[in-house]
């Protein structure tokens, strides 16, 4: 199984542009993001809070559809998924 995960904005600076990962069967969407973000502690804590939950403002898109991050632990990733993770950019 191969899944593409892309980061944007601040998350990209901390975690790189994109990664192709081969998650174990049954890996959840939040598990996948946690696994990839875990390579950089600053990047991880930009996306997840102290309890390991997605921070409220973080946007996760799976195949162009926004996912409710509160339920991302119950969503298994599938082969060919294109995951995008980004924060709202607020400056003007």
């Amino acid at each position: 199984m191969s899944v593409k995960i892309r980061f944007f904005a601040r998350f990209r600076e901390l975690l790189g542009t994109e990664a192709i990962v081969e998650p174990a069967p049954g890996t959840s969407l939040s598990g996948l993001v946690r696994q990839v973000a875990g390579k950089n502690s600053e990047g991880y804590s930009a996306i997840f809070d102290e309890k390991g939950n997605f921070r409220e403002f973080v946007i996760v898109m799976r195949n162009a559809k926004r996912v409710d991050t509160a339920g991302a632990a119950e969503i298994p990733v599938a082969d060919g998924d294109d995951i995008a993770v980004f924060p709202p950019v607020a400056g003007g």
Binding site: F8, A9, T17, G91, G92
Partner: protein, 251 residues
């Protein structure tokens, strides 16, 4: 509203694109620009020189030296002046044939409806999400487009919201990020502001394909432009669940 000889000459090169009828649509239009900062400056400059007939630009701040790396309507001699006074002076020099209203105010729930008035579209040149959400809602109430833009560092994003037709700001970004003093270099709002102004011109002239349902993302660090298709959130309190009528679109 016909064009004068002077206007035909001034806009000659873009009349080649939009025709005289398209230029007349720009002349008839009234665009509201929320903010005269990093995004608001390039948006206002390009809409002014394109011949948007009426521009209202609103800001509450005075020009600070630390603004000058990106807020290109303002210069050293404007430090300490109201941004609106500085902006209107420059815009009138750039194009004396249009009407510019500059209003020194903080946009909030008590005045936003009146400030936007009868404008044909709202350009988001704000630096915070709470005001963006307010203007996004107002655009739906008035059924006019909302041209979103935002920047941080060398990264920026833009999206056009057509009430009734496309996902709104709250569909894509339901929660505001925490406030911060964001890093920025002037080229980023220059780039994104120009994308927003392009969207306004396309909407008014009925040209091309708008960034509706498409979040445009620019990464200046890697020189990559990407887009993410975005859909409506069926639970969105702003644009779903109510009988939204379509934004008027010039044909």
């Amino acid at each position: 509203m016909t064009l004068s000889e002077r206007e035909r000459e001034r806009y000659k090169r873009q009349i080649l694109l939009f025709g005289e009828a398209g230029q007349e649509k720009l002349k008839q239009a009234h665009i509201f620009i929320a903010g005269a900062g990093g995004l608001g400056c390039p948006v206002a400059i390009y809409l002014a020189v394109a011949g948007i007939g009426t521009i209202t630009i609103v800001d509450r701040d005075v020009v600070d030296q630390s603004n000058l790396n990106r807020q290109i309507l303002h210069a050293d001699r404007d430090i300490g002046r109201k941004k609106t006074a500085s902006a209107v002076e420059k815009l009138r020099i750039l194009n004396p044939d249009i009407t510019v209203h500059a209003i020194d105010a903080t946009i909030d729930g008590s005045n936003a409806r009146k400030l936007v008035g009868g404008a044909d579209g709202i350009v988001d040149a704000m630096d915070n999400f709470p005001t963006r959400y307010l203007l996004n809602e107002l655009a739906h109430e008035k059924k006019i487009p909302f041209f979103h833009g935002a920047v941080r560092g060398m990264y920026g994003q833009a999206m056009t919201v057509l009430p009734g037709d496309s996902p709104c700001l709250a569909c894509v970004f339901p929660h505001a990020p925490p406030p911060e003093v964001f890093p920025v270099v002037g080229v980023t709002p220059g780039f994104i502001g120009t994308v927003q102004a392009t969207e306004v011109i396309k909407f008014l002239t009925g040209t091309g394909e708008l960034l509706a349902g498409r979040l445009f993302m620019w990464d200046g660090l890697t020189g990559r432009a990407e887009e993410i298709a975005v859909g409506k959130d069926p639970g969105c309190k702003v644009c779903c669940g109510t009988n939204q009528k379509h934004a008027k679109k010039e044909k």
